[in-house]
């Protein structure tokens, strides 16, 4: 691939970008060149990696500056306030109830077997599965435990959400309430098994397509999957 690519020109731009020397228009040109060049180009990756490393080392010439008192706690407090948060979902995934891991395995097996939405967790007492109705191809199901906020979303046969966008799950805690974010997911080969946080109770769940990677605090498009509880 590199034989048909202007690596000299790319290197000139990559170098300048690494040290912050490009105008906006040149940054856009670099992005276009690299995209047309091919995102899988190993030589480009190497150049970006190595010059980023060099630029980072230039920064080490500066003496570290002490952070203000309380900066660390303020940061962690701000991090905890990040809602919706993939982190919250991840934390729930790893640390919360064991049923999630069991369901995840069952869901993965179900996807392989092509039975998403059917009896995903037959041996887990207290769990419920709700299948969302869609306006696009694919199946989306949510496995949850009434009274608990942890849930698992399982999807199969979904179209790609599009460049720079993700699927986002929402729940409505009660009739008339605003929709609350429950997590984002991006399918791989159309399938996804993702942790979700739906609140302890909800009356509607829905999926929209939102800007990636973090999704939106409020839906910005019409639901493509939804279900009432």
């Amino acid at each position: 691939m590199s034989s048909r690519l202007p690596h000299d020109e790319l290197e000139t731009l990559i170098v300048a970008d690494a040290v912050g020397g490009l105008e906006d228009a040149e940054q856009e040109r670099l992005a276009r060149l690299m995209a047309s060049h091919g995102p899988d180009c190993a030589e480009c990756r190497r150049l970006v990696t190595e010059y980023t490393e060099v630029a980072g080392q230039i920064g080490l010439l500066l003496e570290p500056e002490p952070l203000s008192a309380g900066a660390e706690d303020a940061l962690v407090t701000a991090a905890r306030a990040q809602e919706p948060s993939e982190i919250e979902a991840r934390r729930g995934w790893r640390a919360a109830r064991p049923w999630i891991a069991v369901v995840a395995v069952a869901a993965a097996v179900a996807i392989v077997a092509g039975v998403v939405g059917y009896a995903l967790a037959p041996n887990q007492p207290g769990l419920r599965t709700i299948t969302l109705q869609g306006t696009v191809p694919g199946r989306v199901s949510l496995i949850y435990q009434p009274g608990q906020s942890d849930a698992v979303l399982v999807a199969a046969g979904l179209p790609d959400p599009g460049e720079g966008t993700v699927y986002e799950l929402w729940y409505q805690p009660s009739a008339g309430a605003r929709m609350r974010p429950a997590g984002v997911f991006t399918p791989t080969d159309g399938s996804a098994v993702a942790p979700a946080r739906v609140g302890s109770s909800f009356v509607v769940v829905a999926v929209t397509i939102e800007p990636g990677p973090d999704g939106s605090p409020q839906p910005t498009s019409n639901p493509i999957f939804s279900a009432s509880v």
Partner: protein, 191 residues
């Protein structure tokens, strides 16, 4: 790029833990790299509180989306400093008026505070810094000047060409040659 050191390996482990929502790992990374990241930002924006805000935003971004750091693309330290540097550069270019106000102020004084455990191990930091100083000193002055104006002052190649009265092509070629030399000096030693 290969993992250069135990520090790099430790950082990568910490980032993986952050991805699992581990606050202790998040705090450790912040203690280790917050001060040097703040120094990079402060050099550009010239205001401590703004610098700290930029660093906080960069770390919050990591907390929200730890997958943004990809291990195959180099060390966490370089990625973080690059992220902070770009944010700081964006900040001063967005707020030219603010920059003009700050331009009369001297750069923040060099901090003599012992970074202690809040930064990478001090001995290693000194060794690394010494290596970088030597590599920079070995650059032809014309190349070093341009790299410093870009990295530490946040100036674009076009602006530098104007200020130095040089053709833009000359600035570009000096940037490239300078960075190639630095790459050879700094990266070959660890591979």
């Amino acid at each position: 790029m290969a993992v250069h050191s135990l520090e790099d390996a430790r950082d990568r482990d910490l980032v993986r833990r952050v991805a699992d929502g581990d606050e202790d790992a998040f705090r450790t990374l912040f203690r280790r790299y917050g001060p040097v990241a703040k120094a990079v930002a402060a050099r550009l924006v010239r205001q401590g509180f703004m610098a700290e805000e930029i660093v906080q935003e960069a770390f919050l971004s990591l907390w929200r989306a730890p997958a943004a750091y990809r291990e195959e693309l180099g060390t966490f330290r370089a990625w973080l400093l690059s992220t902070v540097h770009h944010r700081a550069v964006d900040s001063i270019r967005r707020e030219e008026a603010q920059r003009r106000r700050a331009a009369d102020a001297p750069p923040d004084p060099v901090t003599e505070v012992d970074a202690g455990e809040v930064v990478i191990d001090r001995l290693q930091a000194q060794e690394t810094r010494g290596q970088i100083r030597r590599a920079m000193a070995e650059l032809p002055p014309a190349q070093r000047q341009i790299l410093e104006m870009m990295y530490f002052d946040g100036k674009t190649q076009s602006v530098i060409a104007g200020e130095l009265g040089l053709p833009l092509g000359t600035v570009k070629s000096r940037t490239l040659l300078g960075m190639r030399r630095l790459r050879a000096s700094l990266l070959e030693e660890v591979q």
